[in-house]
């Protein structure tokens, strides 16, 4: 009945509209002001549409609006990103003031989950999200950086501070010995990496953490799923919004390492090798760190245009980022182009696209930070004639910088086309076809050069022939997804279901070659052509190597069926069942398919009648989930038994080589997916009308069937040391997550304070078979080939191992009384006889710390007062250790860290720092080099000021904000290196400081204008 009535009204309205065209005088005006409920501030840019028409307006900078009405206009619709859309009947009024409810404040926030959305109150999984305003706070190539300290359970570390370098992301601990990175789903495209995305184009990132949320991604969900939504225009948005942001920053080395100066080094050298320096007060003093680091600019510009017509919405984004490194000759430039369109064919059918194209250019510096760390301070960088001075054993870092030319560039395009149709009112059919295509190339050139010793002879730092190497790789994948969504509310029953069929194919190939002795050094000649490459003696070309193949981890096809249903009864009881069946070409036919189910329950206690009287509680929800998910990030290759070529038999007289080929080691056709079983229990709370919100989760994820390499019996003929991959390890991660936030508005002042944290308990449950062999996994090889990690049952993945120190042997009597290595002497470290067998040997090496933090936390504050805003983000971690690998490897005399100055020089002088030595015994991997990696970092401080409305309006602008920002301003840590953030993609070589490119501190200034 109601519907018919409405229809009649529409007809009447339509007729009236027809007339209105002729009778302009009949119109009236309505005005008002729109404010936000969270901070009571006026909201500029709010869309106001007369419902059922395309007519509307947008609020000005002060939140005011005026709209011409036509007879028949009945209802006004107010919409604004981040706020609940509000409708009100005009009912003859000519002034309507509206307060929009901020979505973040509402329980019925819509949460994006895999293949659909769900109301937050109906969610049974553990999902955390951050919005564009948080994402855009961080200026980085890697949008994931924005998750650091903002999402409980997510740990983000930088590999290094080199421009363009990636980050290491771990969701809820380290789940496998293999690739432990989460997957990213950008507008439906399943990807391994999102460094091609411009943060400014992202509207939200949701981290799916538990099995209920990730099982819909089946074999790829085990290490977490990060959903990324890019920006689109609002449907019905009448005004074209143009936003421009410019930011300029200066980066500098936040902290240098305390090393010995020239005089100190000379004194210590004289102790080790008496008579090395006659006058220690007269030696030069070079601060090598000072010579290789510079302050460097960073620029970031974004422009976005979004708008809508009745039939279409569009979003165009453009970004340019230019970052120079704090080490010369390192830089990164990226252009990002974004185009998201939706066309409404009719009420029921829409088609659209999401496209991103990102060309980039990167320049890499050689690892001069390690050289500067090692270079003796009493050597001088240049000779009197200005040529490079020799730096014994290390090489002159300035020369390496001067002669190194290493470039990478590429382009990545990711996009999809989709069609979406609503049928029978409740079903939405969607088909989407997407591609991810990228092309990368690299070139590296080193000219011929020689650094000379003071006596004029050539030093070891030289390059006899110029070297050129080039490589390229291309990657193409396509993903075709077909889903049907069903949404139905029948009285108290709310059903939300999705089913789908998807196919994906991924291919990647690389090609590379290297040559020597180019005819000229100039960049114009950096091509490998036989005619341009000459041998100094006989003019033959010296092409060194050519290689070509596929990337074994990026060569596979997948086919999947997926299903999920979310059922809510009376907004109180929720059940979710998820199921995905994946088939992958990475496995043999018998093991090709696997099923990944999950089950979850939720209870909105707050909606129970007995809760109605508890006023201070605004939300109370309990949820629990269980499920199995997989990890397929492994090589496609291990299943195959392949033929080994490149062998030779030598026959004939004189000897000549004849090619040979035969069976290589046997593959393992029985390989299956790594499977993670995860249980999650969550509690969500809201107090005082959700001014205080809290979320607690307990998680327990156990990964089984982890792929590791095991030794095979010799009689199989695989050859010595050849290992074969088996599903033969298990790892447990468990812990608690919490996320608390307080928001309040006091007149002109509003603020929000959030604190969140995660505990991680990581433990290896099983490695290898039942025999003693392969029951541990050794890794973390230092530059001298000595491993410093050992993963074994009961300890964390990649745990450090080595000797435990217990003071210094002060006297001969002490030395004689204690088991010691034959190399140990008075004044040397005393290693503990851990196994108590009365002798000191390799068996006394033991667990000496974990690279995995046991607690990671973030502390975030936002303040707003009138036109001023301030945000402060603090983040940190405790319990992890860093292995100071750069200090340990000392085959030759290098400079020392300053702590060596407190060395033992005689009985009683020190019981922690042994007598000075250039290497050897005291530098055996031990807990002396395992340093506390805990830190608290003031990660980001932003202070902004929005220009007054009248000023902005007079410039014909909607909004203008200027801000200053400081990133990595301050870090509280005991760690002696540049930064306690030591990443590492290889989980068994994690947390080892090999002498990394430091992360810089950045001070920047920015301006943001909305037209």
């Amino acid at each position: 009945m109601k519907k018919t009535l409405y229809f009649h009204k529409l007809v009447i309205a339509g007729l009236l509209m027809l007339f209105s065209g002729f009778q302009l005088v009949a119109q009236s005006q309505i005005s008002g002001i729109v404010t936000a409920s969270d901070n009571k501030e006026t909201l500029p840019g709010v869309n106001i549409v007369v419902k059922g028409t395309t007519r509307g307006t947008i609020t000005d900078i002060d939140g005011n609006y005026i709209l011409d009405l036509l007879p028949g206009d009945e209802v006004l619709q107010y919409s604004f990103t981040g706020y609940e859309t509000f409708e009100t009947a005009i009912a003859g009024r000519n002034e309507i003031d509206v307060e929009l409810q901020a979505i973040s404040e509402l329980l019925d926030e819509i949460v994006v989950i895999g293949y659909g959305t769900v109301r937050k109150s109906d969610l049974t999984g553990a999902v955390s999200s951050i919005k564009s305003e948080e994402i855009s706070k961080i200026t980085s190539v890697n949008p994931q950086q924005a998750l650091q300290g903002k999402v409980a359970g997510v740990h983000v570390t930088s590999n290094s501070g080199a421009p363009g370098d990636g980050v290491v992301v771990r969701v809820r601990g380290v789940g496998t010995f293999n690739n432990s990175a989460p997957i990213y789903v950008v507008d439906g495209m399943i990807l391994d990496d999102i460094s091609f995305l411009n943060s400014a184009d992202i509207v939200s990132m949701e981290v799916l953490k538990d099995a209920s949320a990730t099982a819909i991604y089946g074999s790829r969900g085990a290490n977490g799923v990060i959903l990324v939504q890019t920006k689109t225009a609002e449907k019905g948005q009448t005004r074209t919004i143009i936003n421009f942001n410019a930011e300029y920053g200066i980066q500098h080395l936040a902290k240098s390492i305390d090393l010995l100066d020239g005089r100190q080094f000379a004194i210590i050298s004289n102790e080790i090798r008496p008579g090395s320096y006659n006058n220690v007060d007269a030696v030069p003093n070079t601060d090598w760190q000072d010579l290789i680091f510079q302050t460097a600019p960073m620029q970031n510009y974004q422009l976005s245009i979004s708008g809508a017509t009745p039939k279409a919405e569009y979003y165009i984004g453009m970004g340019f980022m230019n970052q120079d490194g704090i080490v010369p000759k390192s830089s990164y430039q990226r252009i990002s182009l974004k185009l998201n369109n939706t066309y409404h064919v009719n009420d029921k059918v829409k088609i659209g696209n999401n496209f991103t194209i990102t060309p980039f250019k990167q320049r890499n510096a050689p690892n001069v930070t390690y050289q500067a760390y090692r270079a003796q301070p009493l050597l001088e960088p240049y000779y009197a004639d200005g040529s490079f001075g020799v730096v014994y054993n290390v090489g002159n870092p300035l020369a390496d910088l001067a002669y190194s030319n290493d470039y990478r560039s590429g382009v990545r395009g990711v996009g999809n086309l989709f069609v979406e149709a609503t049928i029978f009112n409740d079903f939405i059919l969607k088909s989407s076809y997407g591609v991810d295509a990228s092309f990368h190339k690299g070139k590296s050139f080193t000219p011929a050069y020689t650094i000379y010793n003071p006596d004029g002879t050539a030093s070891q730092q030289n390059n006899l022939f110029s070297d050129l190497s080039k490589n390229s790789s291309d990657n193409f994948s396509w993903l075709w997804e077909n889903t049907v969504n069903y949404n139905k509310v029948i009285q108290k029953h709310n059903i939300n279901a999705v089913a789908g069929f998807t196919m994906q194919k991924i291919r990647s190939e690389y090609f590379g070659m290297a040559g020597q002795n180019l005819i000229r050094d100039a960049e114009d000649f950096w091509y490998i052509q036989p005619s341009y490459i000459v041998d100094e003696t006989n003019n033959i070309n010296m092409v060194q190597s050519i290689y070509n193949g596929v990337d074994a981890g990026q060569y596979y096809s997948m086919m999947s069926l997926l299903f999920r249903t979310n059922y809510t009864y009376d907004s109180r009881y929720i059940a979710t069942v998820t199921f995905r069946r994946d088939g992958s070409s990475k496995f043999r036919e018998e093991n090709r398919y696997s099923n990944f189910p999950s089950f979850a329950l939720g209870w909105n206690i707050i909606n129970e009648s007995f809760m109605q009287d508890i006023d201070y509680l605004s939300n109370l929800k309990l949820r629990a989930s269980w499920g199995k998910i997989g990890n397929d990030k492994i090589s496609y290759f291990d299943q195959f038994s392949i033929v080994q070529s490149g062998l030779f038999a030598i026959f004939g007289n004189p000897d000549a080589a004849f090619p040979a080929a035969t069976y290589s080691k046997s593959g393992n056709p029985d390989l299956v997916w790594e499977t993670t079983t995860q249980t999650d229990i969550g509690l969500e709370l809201g107090f005082f009308n959700n001014r205080l919100t809290a979320e607690f989760d307990y998680y327990n994820r156990q990964t089984d069937d982890i792929l590791i390499d095991l030794s095979t019996p010799g009689h199989l003929g695989n050859g010595q040391g050849q290992k074969v991959r088996y599903n033969a390890a298990s790892v447990l991660n468990r812990g608690f997550e919490f996320n608390l936030r307080w928001r309040e508005t006091l007149g002109d002042f509003n603020y929000s304070i959030g604190i969140l944290g995660t505990t991680i308990h990581n433990e290896v449950l099983r490695i290898g078979g039942n025999s003693g062999i392969d029951s541990v996994l050794i890794g973390g090889y230092l530059g001298n080939g000595i491993p410093v990690t050992l993963s074994s049952v009961g300890n964390p993945i990649g745990a450090f191992y080595g000797y435990v120190t217990d003071g210094i042997f002060q006297t001969q009597a002490e030395l004689d009384a204690y088991p010691h290595s034959s190399q140990a002497d008075i004044g040397d470290l005393r290693f503990v006889d851990v196994n108590g067998d009365g002798k000191l040997d390799g068996n006394d090496r033991t667990y000496i710390g974990s690279p995995i933090p046991d607690f990671i936390f973030g502390f975030n504050m936002d303040f707003g007062y009138k036109s001023f805003d301030l945000s402060v983000d603090i983040q940190g971690q405790t319990g992890n250790k860093i292995f100071n690998g750069k200090d340990v490897v000392r085959p030759d005399p290098y400079n020392f860290e300053e702590y060596v100055w407190d060395r033992w020089t005689g009985p009683g002088t020190s019981n922690t720092e042994p007598k000075a030595s250039f290497g050897g015994y005291n530098y055996t991997p031990s807990d002396k080099f395992v340093l506390d990696g805990s830190f608290i970092r003031l990660r980001n401080v932003i202070f902004g000021y929005s220009l007054p409305t009248h000023l902005v309006n007079s410039l014909n602008l909607q909004k203008m904000r200027v801000y200053v920002k400081a990133t990595n301003l301050f870090t509280l840590t005991k760690y002696s290196g540049y930064s306690p953030e030591i990443g590492g993609n290889d989980v068994v070589s994690n947390g080892i400081d090999y002498g990394i490119y430091p992360i810089s501190a950045v001070y920047s200034f920015g301006i943001n204008v909305t037209f």
């Binding site: 392949i642 038999a649 030598i650 000897d655 004849f658 040979a660 035969t662 010799g714 050859g719």
Partner: protein, 491 residues
């Protein structure tokens, strides 16, 4: 509506039918074992691969010449600290089942077995010239026999693998079963391999009928089946294909490679380690000229055992100060020229194995030494030994004295002809002749073991009867097998 239904059913079926194919993927750039060897060219490639193991450093007793080091002919060598705990313990029988090198040798021999098995199992299925196929298979069976012969001599009864897809766990067979397999393989090779002389050009160095017979003779010697040993050794001698190099050093040297004395040798190229053989580099002169690591130092015992003025002494040992091919041997600075024991007795002098010498000064060329696995002098001495055991000392002396005659090199004052005909005395003389003729070529330790003299000769070095005749099964192999493999007695 119905039409759309059929369309969708059709589409769904199409999708499903293409599914299995969609999820198939083959490895890129390399064939799989299912598709190899399938052509005549593949057959040749896989046969060649069975030979490639011979240049694997590990094939040569795990890399280091431990057989000579365990014998009374040699010490560890190199400088005192180099390989002290890895190679050193072989010198005084203080090795353990986890000793460095054991697993390398074990794995390399089985890798050779596997490569031979590929040919033996797959080549018969290939549609190709049948005679050629049979020759390839015979070559592979010769090599398989060669590899198993090392296995059975080093470890006794070992797991027998005759398939390319053996089970993960195979228990040890008896020594007799292993010998039976070797015998079958070599008899097949004898029947189906061509004579050495019929291999020409690019096939020089392939296993021949003569090589198979010589190896078979050796196998019978180890089995103490002297009748058969005599038969095959004499057949090789009577074939007329072989003779002794006039010059003793050419028997192992560059000049004699693939020469008249060579029965079976491992071809290797100079300059490039990928095509060379590190066997000689391991033992090459250390220091100046830098020809290698200097392992396998000839012992004083060996030096003093040579008969007066036997020219083979200088053909076996390089001393400091020697000038070879115009190059003065200065040796290694960090290695003492002379080593004394605690009582002040001279126990070692710095010297090197002459038999792996290759003219030149660079390290790389040393990789080009063609190791002679079987040479004619060995066959003559095997024949002599078998004939003596079979009660034919007269015939034995002919072959024995032929070896001595060559060694004498025309000097009538040295190395007189042997005239002894007493079986026991002649046996000792022949063993001693083997020592001097074949020193540092990997024969001595096993000769002592098979003749039962090991305890007597090597006892002072630590050899324990009933234990050290065999090496211990590598501990990691026992661990991986989870106890299926049992250790040799007393280890």
């Amino acid at each position: 509506m119905k039409k759309y239904f059929y369309y969708s059913v059709f589409l769904a079926l199409l999708l499903l039918s293409s599914c299995t194919k969609f999820l198939e993927s083959n490895p890129q750039g390399v064939p799989t074992q299912e598709a190899f060897p399938t052509t005549a060219a593949d057959a040749l490639l896989s046969t060649n691969a069975a030979y490639a193991t011979l240049r694997n450093w590990y094939y040569h007793s795990g890399g280091f010449p431990i057989l000579d080091i365990m014998s009374d002919d040699a010490h560890k060598g190199s400088n005192p600290n180099d390989g002290l705990n890895t190679v050193g313990p072989y010198n005084n029988f203080s090795i353990t089942p986890t000793q460095d090198g054991l697993d390398r040798w074990w794995s390399a021999l089985y890798q050779g077995v596997k490569r031979a098995n590929v040919v033996i199992e797959k080549v018969p299925e290939i549609n190709m010239d049948e005679a050629l196929a049979t020759r390839y298979i015979a070559e592979a069976r010769f090599l398989r026999g060669l590899y198993y012969f090392d296995l059975v001599r080093a470890w006794g009864g070992v797991p027998i693998v005759t398939s390319t897809t053996p089970p993960l766990e195979v228990s040890r067979s008896t020594k007799e079963e292993v010998y039976k397999l070797i015998e079958e393989d070599l008899l097949f090779a004898v029947l189906n391999l061509p004579a050495k002389g019929s291999y020409g050009g690019n096939n020089i160095g392939r296993a021949s009928n003569g090589a198979a017979k010589a190896l078979l003779a050796k196998v019978y010697l180890f089995k103490k089946d002297f009748i058969n040993a005599e038969k095959y050794a004499v057949e090789v001698i009577q074939s007329g294909e072989y003779n002794l190099e006039p010059n003793f050093i050419d028997a192992n040297g560059k000049n004699g490679q693939h020469g008249v004395e060579s029965v079976f040798e491992v071809g290797a190229m100079e300059n490039e380690s990928a095509l060379g053989n590190q066997y000689a580099n391991t033992q090459g002169v250390r220091g100046t000229p830098n020809r290698g690591w200097g392992f396998n130092r000839p012992s004083l015992n060996l030096r003093y055992s040579f008969e007066t003025e036997d020219p083979r002494l200088k053909g076996t040992i390089i001393d400091l100060g020697d000038v070879l091919d115009g190059i003065t041997i200065l040796g290694d600075g960090t290695t003492p020229d002379e080593t004394y024991d605690d009582d002040g007795n001279l126990v070692e002098v710095e010297c090197y194995n002459r038999k792996v010498w290759i003219p030149g000064t660079s390290t790389d060329t040393q990789f080009g030494h063609n190791r002679r696995l079987i040479r004619f002098a060995d066959v003559l001495l095997m024949a002599a030994e078998a004939l003596n055991e079979n009660g034919k000392p007269g015939e034995a002396l002919i072959h024995l004295n032929r070896v001595r005659e060559r060694a004498r090199n025309g000097n009538p004052d040295i190395l007189p002809d042997i005239i002894e005909t007493g079986k026991d005395a002649l046996r000792d003389i022949i063993l001693n002749e083997r020592r001097h003729e074949l020193a540092l070529e990997g024969h001595r330790f096993w000769d002592l073991v098979r003749t039962g003299k090991a305890a007597q000769v090597l006892g002072p070095n630590g050899f324990i009867s009933g234990k050290h005749e065999l090496l211990p099964i590598p501990q990691n192999e026992i661990d991986i097998s989870q106890g299926v493999l049992t250790q040799n007695p007393s280890w």
